[in-house]
Symmetry: C2
Subunit: 147 residues, 2 copies
């Protein structure tokens, strides 16, 4: 619950109060690797689609282009969502949490967000002593990735 | 997009297929600090409330008691949500993403989730060159924490 010195100025501010984005950006609490977690939520249905990571460059590109770009930790490169699958995310709004260390992206997801071809990556429900698949594949992964 | 050897068995499985939770738990991809990010979403409205971290103990307690318990990185202790504010989170369902490194918690949040007294921690919207407060305080923090 520790607070960032800049974003914390919004803590007790009324609806509509605002801070300069460039100042907030410069004081974002990134991880040791320079990353911030970003949750993608379908803007109209409210479905939580996925969680991935951004570095400053990915965040700035996303805000500039309106198309969501993450940082791929496994590949060590910018990851323009949909660049291989075609399933892009258009940004509707980006939000920061109270202590400025997590992003919530309201997006319009074209087709499935998940590499398995499901709308959301969160399809494994822990129910009693089992982990059960609770959503269906929309598009077969072969159609998305050719494999 | 790398996949955990156990949870990956659900990737191409049909709706209703399941895996043993204990095996999945033993192979969760925790961070170097033994933590996994957990997104809390209000189960009925779909509002994303907050993102925090769990260690294995917090996750097991949450599943056992039905009341959400995180790991506080700043305090280095288990953090039973609502223990000081009274604003508890009852767990409706816990879900894992495709590669087993993020949790989505469907919860019933009593009152505000945010320490600022707002329902959600994600009240800062990046709009143009400003970061604007887009939700109102439900309860004054003084009523929650006495300060």
């Amino acid at each position: 619950m520790s607070t960032d010195p800049i974003i914390s100025h919004n803590e007790r501010a009324p609806l509509g109060a605002s801070l300069p984005w460039t100042q907030v950006l410069d004081s974002l609490k990134l991880s040791a690797e320079g990353l911030i977690p970003a949750i993608a939520q379908q803007h109209d249905s409210g479905e939580v689609l996925m969680m991935a990571w951004m570095n400053r460059e990915a965040l700035e590109e996303t805000l500039r282009t309106g198309r969501v770009c993450y940082w791929s930790r496994s590949r060590g490169t910018l990851w323009r969502k949909g660049e291989s699958s075609g399933q892009v995310q258009q940004l509707k709004e980006a939000r920061l949490d109270c202590d400025g260390d997590t992003l919530l992206l309201l997006v319009d997801q074209s087709g499935p967000a998940c590499h398995t071809g499901r709308k959301s990556c969160f399809y494994n429900a822990i129910r009693g002593d089992r982990v059960e698949v609770v959503s269906e594949t929309l598009v077969h992964p072969v159609k998305l990735y050719g494999r």
